[in-house]
Amino acid sequence: MRTEPDAQILPAGELTTSDRIRLQDVTVRYRLPRERIHSLKEYAIRLVQRRLEYIDFQALSGINLQVRAGEVLGVIGANGAGKSTLLKVVARVLPPGSGRVWTCGRVAPLLGISAAFHPELTGRENVFLNGALLGFSRQQMQERFDAIVEFSGLHNFIDAPIRTYSTGMVGRLGFAIATDVKPDILLIDEVLSVGDSEFSGKAEQRIADFCSAGIAVVVVSHALDRIRAMCTRAIWIDHGRIAAEGGADEVAKMYLESRAA
């Protein structure tokens, strides 16, 4: 692989061993057709009529960011400001249009974790399927299976099909799988409200343990109190740009003032 041009963009000396996430001048642009075109037939007609128009929607522009191990970064901003897009870029789900994304370590994205569940399969089968989709080997999953079931508290249901589970139970199992191994980078979208109050207490405790165990955490939330309580640092994203960056209290205050004005 050619590595020379990369080295110029991001000199190796700048990266320290505690760096977990680096974003350099990251831009994400969605190209939306002015009117949604759903079919090949429609597309062909429009193409002939030269009526294809696009709107470029800049979801993120020129984002520079650095998150080190042990930091908990809060991300705040209005709906549609680009917070979730930022998480997706870090999770390797969305390749940036330009700029550079660099992460070091295993990423645990707590977004849509239960999307991989199949309703007809049992809880046990789903644990293995889900673990495989998260990139774990069969052996790793076998070692972790008991701990996952233990944490989810679903002993009695583990051999029943997932379709018989309640939404809360599915969420509990998903959370247990995704967080069983301590990740190096944890991405949290919105406040976790998984399961009943007993389970969400356990989930919160686990995240708090991770935060104090020196991993890098990025939390997207509208609950400013929670950002203030959890985060060592925060950024405020507005229309795809970083509007403010600094201590969690300070950024939250600026954000609130701007909304009041």
């Binding site: 692989m1 050619r2 590595t3 041009p5 990369d6 963009i9 991001l10 969605y30 190209r31 759903h38 079919s39 090949l40 037939k41 597309y43 997706k88 999770a91 390797r92 789900v93 969305l94 390749p95 940036p96 700029g99 550079r100 994304v101 660099w102 992460t103 070091c104 370590g105 295993r106 990423v107 994205p109 977004l111 849509g112 974790i113 999307a115 991989a116 199949h118 007809e120 399969l121 089968e125 293995f128 399927l129 495989a132 989709l133 998260l134 990139g135 774990f136 080997s137 069969r138 070692e143 972790r144 099909p161 191994v181 301590k182 190096d184």
Partner: protein, 276 residues
């Protein structure tokens, strides 16, 4: 049990030959592929009484209907059933597996929007599921051959090779369809129509010799499935190994289609994230 050794690094600006990178990632996720195949097979039969038997009953039923209808029209001999079934199960594999690739992405895209998985995993697992079903449907073929008195020869052991080539071809076609499907979700509707026409243009139901001389060259010469189905039929129904003239076109078609499909898909796969 945190990770030991060097931490995995993701660098969005890393250059490299995309088809190669995609292949390496797909291999790394082979456990996920195996689990997806397992999921498809287990979930399909979980709530049915006859379970896995359906995979064998389905081609048998299809064959029975077609044999009854066409043997009268074409005045075919007693070995018509085995001829028909040997072509039909190969065709069914191709049409089901390629459609499963497309529908696999319709489901998988939800996941791809949330967690990182090499995108080709869904296509490979759909073909894998099809291969398991194909292997199971060889059982009714052998049964029909015994019942109708078509001799089963040792050449049947050669079957894994035509199966592999069929799988490569189907994966290539499936990946191309999935790539077009990123932009136009209605490819699967159009593809279904194409499949019907394609099936009747391939000597599956009717014997090759039935084609008029002037049509035969077009239908057989320009139809990749003709070579692949023939390669599947030779060691079973005809009971002989293919000649090089019969083998090489099938090999070339399968390999080239797979390479083109893989290349096209890995160039465009990042677009999945931008579409819904």
């Amino acid at each position: 049990m945190s990770t030991s050794g060097p931490l995995p690094v993701y660098d969005s600006s890393r250059r490299g030959f995309k088809p190669w990178l995609e292949l390496r990632e797909a291999l790394r996720y082979r456990n996920a592929i195996a689990h997806l195949v397992r999921r498809d097979i287990v979930s399909r039969y979980k709530r049915s009484f006859l379970g896995i038997l359906w995979t064998m009953l389905h081609p048998l039923g299809m064959m029975l209907v077609m044999a009854l209808v066409f043997s009268n029209i074409m005045r075919a001999g007693p070995d018509f059933a085995a001829y028909l079934l040997s072509g039909l199960i190969a065709w069914t594999f191709f049409s089901q597996a390629t459609q499963a690739v497309v529908s696999g992405y319709r489901w998988g895209v939800r996941l791809l929007h949330n967690i990182y998985i090499p995108h080709s995993v869904f296509a490979i697992s759909a073909i894998g599921t099809g291969l398991v079903n194909l292997a199971l449907s060889i059982v009714p073929l052998l049964l029909v051959m015994i019942v109708t008195g078509v001799p089963i020869r040792w050449t049947a052991l050669y079957l894994p090779i035509p199966m592999l080539l069929l799988a490569c071809f189907s994966l290539g076609v499936g990946l191309l369809l999935a790539t077009v499907g990123i932009y136009f979700p209605d490819v699967s509707d159009m593809y279904q129509i194409i499949l019907v026409a394609w099936m009747y243009l391939t000597p599956i139901i009717y014997p090759e010799a039935l084609l008029p001389e002037n049509l035969r060259l077009i239908i057989t010469g320009a139809n990749p499935m003709y070579y692949l189905i023939k390669l599947f039929r030779l060691p079973t129904f005809d009971g002989r190994l293919p000649t090089w003239q019969e083998f090489l076109p099938a090999l070339l078609i399968a390999v080239i289609t797979l390479l083109v499909g893989w290349w096209g898909f890995s160039r465009k796969e990042s677009e999945f994230a931008y579409r819904t």
